[in-house]
């Protein structure tokens, strides 16, 4: 907690300084022209790197023994950026601490650096809205994520953008795209898109996400496009690593449109299909240099290989980005640091990086891999295309293929880690264990209490199999669904055979692209005398009730709620309270009017509207709060106890509530039995809990 607080205070201080600077700079247009701001989104708002990202933010994961964020900063330094704002969300304290201790916050740093906390944002859109609210952006800025590797010289891109801006104020954005064949290893399989560009000006006139799962056979273009542009190129050969130059209009547009979350899917698509705004977006196509983004395990693998084989020159391991690194290059793309102990009979083959303090024993063969610092590698070990981070111990005769082994892990003698597996921090794997390719092992417990999974890690091992909880927990369904299981990574490592291609993109359910809607009119009904919170509760409840009564689309209801939330600056707690009040009110109405029995009433309402909670309930604390709210609400209703029982059952079936949260709520939360009403309304729950535990035991014994 300590560093976090300190960071916040520091952030505030610099902000004050900046505001005055802003005032000073305002009259001088020329001064602004030269300064370039960069916004680094340190969070990816995705879960593809879990369980690794449970403990470390993605931008601090090591790529070739250097944290990803270093590559981003190096690129920004090359691009001549003078001011960097890092937006932190998950693991903000770690990121702040890292930046504070790095050379970038040093006085010799080429740019000033500032971290901004945006803990509540769950998408790029939220972060942009937050930035807009904070008013940090003064001029055209560079928007990147904290996980890019790029060596594109930026002055040309920038001058082009500025010329366009000078001519036409509506050219709000320039996307930097790197040409690459459709099945290039460095392209993220899951995320590809079709860009329709004007051949002469490189104006992007249409953007369409490719929905691989649906075997998209057609895209529809507005015929007007053909009237306006004579030469159009429809292209699918870009690596889009989300390096954008944006005008200050961009965050403002995000604020105007609450439903924009994704910068490409929602924003670019939305802007281009909107007739009202008249804004234009351009592409800058790069053919010479390198640009890529580590956005999935598959691209982690590919970008690592690219860095090792010097496509990213001069950003290579031997340029020793961190001050304490001592990498030296050897023939065949082998990079070794000082102080490595190599046994006489071990073999280090091409495309390998070995960090300082690592010891490799006799007969071991390492090919195309990255080995971190202070690793101990035993005799006759075989390591191929694997990523082994710091302080890992690998005992004799182990085999590791195309896997990620995180800091402090131990792989027992004669164990076999199959391609695609992930062994997270400090997991210990016993001898003679086979770790399957789709397994992700972790020791991170979070709030849960899992037992050591002896099947997976052996008798003496430590750790358990990580289940991808993203479907259940993740609010941002459309962003998240891209399957983050080991599959993608697996395919990448098998990618040598092109035939495996068609299966790569499987498992990628996409949400229907949402049409953009201008914020609803509900703002007008604000009764200004009320305190914001009350008015929010009332309005939100009314909004949900209206949606239920008029049977609106779920998306519309959710959108309306989030609009309200933004307008009133409400917490999720209040959103939940309002939604619950409306829905349970509806259920109670159905029961009281004798239309349906309790169970049927609950099911009919919650099956239809339950998914609303997906965007309101995120982690376990939220779930418990949510349960308490339901309980509290039920005390006011007739047949409250049976509504509560059926509601819990129904929400559990929908995976909005998980059993740990329910159990915790029931057994540990003091608020649950605050007063007699609360106790009374919960009288039916124990039976259900009993069913739940027995059901689990049964499934366990299977």
């Amino acid at each position: 907690m300590g560093p976090k607080k300190g960071g916040q205070a520091g952030g505030n201080k610099t902000k004050v300084g900046k505001q005055t600077a802003q005032q000073n700079a305002a009259p001088e247009e020329t001064d602004q022209e030269e300064r370039l701001q960069a916004i680094v989104l340190s969070d990816s708002y995705q879960t593809r790197f879990q369980p690794l990202t449970l403990e470390t933010p993605r931008c601090l994961l090591p790529l070739c023994n250097t944290p990803l964020l270093e590559y981003t900063f190096e690129f920004l330094a090359l691009a001549g950026v003078s001011e960097v704002i890092v937006v932190c969300c998950a693991h903000a304290d770690q990121i702040q601490e890292y930046i504070a201790n790095s050379r970038w916050s040093n006085f010799s740093s080429p740019f000033t650096i500032e971290t901004v906390l945006s803990p509540e944002s769950v998408s790029v859109g939220d972060a942009m809205r937050d930035l807009d609210a904070k008013g940090l952006i003064t001029s055209d800025f560079l928007l990147v994520s904290g996980d890019i590797v790029c060596n594109v010289p930026f002055d040309k891109v920038l001058t082009d953008h500025r010329q366009r801006r000078a001519k036409d104020k509506n050219a709000i954005m320039t996307m930097v795209l790197r040409e690459a064949s459709p099945f290039h290893r460095t392209r993220a399989r899951a995320e590809s898109a079709i860009f329709v560009l004007d051949e002469q000006t490189n104006q992007c006139v249409h953007y369409e996400e490719i929905k691989t799962r649906k075997h998209m056979k057609q895209i529809s273009l507005d015929p007007e496009i053909f009237n306006k542009h004579t030469d159009l190129a429809i292209r699918n050969d870009f690596i889009d690593c989300h390096i954008d130059i944006c005008s200050p209009d961009v965050p403002a547009l995000f604020t105007e449109n609450f439903d924009y979350n994704h910068i490409r899917k929602d924003f670019v698509h939305g802007i281009l299909t909107s007739d009202l705004l008249g804004k234009t977006i351009f592409a800058h196509i790069v053919t010479d240099n390198y640009a890529a983004r580590v956005r999935s395990l598959q691209t982690y693998d590919a970008v690592s290989k690219d860095v090792i084989s010097r496509w990213t020159y001069p950003i290579t391991p031997d340029s020793n980005l961190l001050a304490d690194q001592t990498f030296q290059y050897q023939r065949g793309h082998i990079y070794k640091e000082d102080g490595i102990v190599l046994a006489r009979s071990c073999r280090i083959n091409s495309c390998t990086v070995v960090g300082a303090g690592t010891a490799v024993d006799d007969g071991t063969v390492i090919t195309g891999s990255v080995i971190g610092r202070r690793c101990k590698i035993g005799k006759n070990v075989s390591i191929r295309s694997a990523y082994i981070w710091d302080d890992v111990t690998i005992e004799d005769d182990a085999i590791i293929e195309s896997a990620i082994i995180a800091n402090g892990a131990v792989i027992g003698a004669s164990s076999h880690v199959a391609p695609g597996a992930i062994v997270s921090y400090n997991v210990k794997i016993d001898s003679n264990i086979i770790v399957d390719g789709n397994k992700r092992l972790t020791k991170y417990l979070g709030e849960e209490n899992k037992n050591v999974d002896t099947d997976a890690v052996g008798e003496d091992g430590d750790g358990y199999v990580y289940e991808d909880a993203s479907e259940a927990e993740e609010d941002d369904d459309y962003e998240e669904i891209v399957n983050s299981s080991g599959l993608v990574y697996n395919m990448a490592s098998l990618n040598a055979s092109d035939t495996s291609f068609s299966t790569v993109s499987a498992d990628q359910p996409h949400r229907k692209s949402r049409r953009r809607r201008i914020s609803t009119a509900s703002n007008n009904t604000v009764a200004s005398e009320d305190s914001d919170e009350d008015s929010f509760l009332r309005e939100a409840q009314a909004s949900v009730e209206r949606a239920v009564a008029e049977n609106h689309d779920l998306d519309i209801a959710a959108l309306e709620l989030s609009t309200l939330r933004m307008a009133k600056n409400a917490q999720f707690h209040e959103v939940r309270a309002a939604t619950i009040a409306a829905l349970i009110g509806r259920i109670s109405h159905l029961i009281n009017s004798n239309t349906l029995k309790a169970r049927a009433a609950v099911e009919s309402v919650l099956n239809r509207w339950g998914p609303l909670f997906r965007r309101q309930v995120f982690d376990q604390a939220d779930q418990i709060d949510f349960l308490l709210l339901i309980q509290r609400d039920c005390t006011r209703r007739m047949q409250g106890s049976s509504i509560l029982l059926h509601a819990i059952n129904c929400l559990y079936d929908q995976d909005i509530l998980d059993e740990e949260a329910i159990l915790k709520w029931w057994y540990q939360d003091p608020q649950r039995k605050e007063d007699a009403d609360m106790v009374k309304v919960g009288e039916l729950v124990p039976r259900w809990l009993q069913w739940l535990t027995t059901a689990e035991e049964e499934s366990d014994s299977e």
């Binding site: 290039h184 290893r185 020793n320 793309h333 990618n495």
Partner: protein, 372 residues
Amino acid sequence: MLAAGAHISKEKDLNAHIEAFVAQIKRRQIQGSYNVALATSQLLLRVLSAARWTHIDQLVTQIKVLGKRLQSAQPRELACGNIIRRVLALIREESEDTNDSESGDGAINSPLITSMFSLLSTNDEYGPNPHSQSLYDGTGRSIKKDLKPYIIEGIQELIDELRSIDESIASMGVEMIHENETILTPTPNSRTVLKFLLRTAQKRKFTVLVVEVFPNDVEKTHEFALKLAEAGIETTVITDAMVYSIMGRVGKVILGTHAVLANGGLLASAGAAMICQCANVHRTPVVVCTGLYKLSPMYPFDIESLIEVGDTGKVLEFEDGSLVDKVNVVNPLYDYVPPESVDLCITNMGGYSPNFMYRLVIDHYRQEDTTL
């Protein structure tokens, strides 16, 4: 108090300069021997004007530590280390000179090996200075004030030398190139060669064949050829593969180089070694134009550690996904050209045989500074 604060801020400022230099050289924002040499000497000038020392050894250690740091930022830019060694030699020389003039036994302390250059030059320039304190004066305290301006002046001279180096080499062109001779050059990124040819073209009429050294310097080749053509020189750009067939008609091969090693070997653009071999077969003279700042006291014991490996994307198009995944591409930027392949090195101090380079090394650097 105020003075101390000023000193700290000055030191901080200096440190920032050093950090920035290290970062820039790592990012290749400073690239090429000349730029690196110039930037290094300017940095050293700054460091020395801020430096404080009580004994000359302290200063030497300071500079050595700094030198090690700069050198390890990009060990393959040898010019950086060369300039540091030059400055170290300068400091040592100044201190010894002062020492000699006081103690009067300069003959014993002076280097045992006196090359023919020192025969011609006089040491009077910084000779006896009646006001200077001796290295060890009565109180045992050593000098500091008197040396500093001399050292700074020495570095200034070094910078001036760097700036005028191309001129002095170019002035020798007339003696090298005959009327109507055909010249082949495989190093179009060399400023020295460009100036050499342009200057000579004012007096002589000759033809230049520019080899398009794929993949790293193709664009530069075309610029280079254009500049020559604009100056009225008959210029042809040829591909690398044509070198052997055309060598029979070439009068001289003129090379620029990235570095000259102590044995007279060169680190020149990739492809140069092959062209020099080819010239040797045809008994065509190979002439190297180089400033002395490129002369390194290193011997090529481990050639690989001296050769920089560049951007793979220049060799193979990154777009081509299927190839990128399957092949391993290496793009070395330099070639090692053995001294046997070179006939003459033209430096700003005149033309020498590569076999003689070790003497120049002894004249310009101190043995004790070879390893920083």
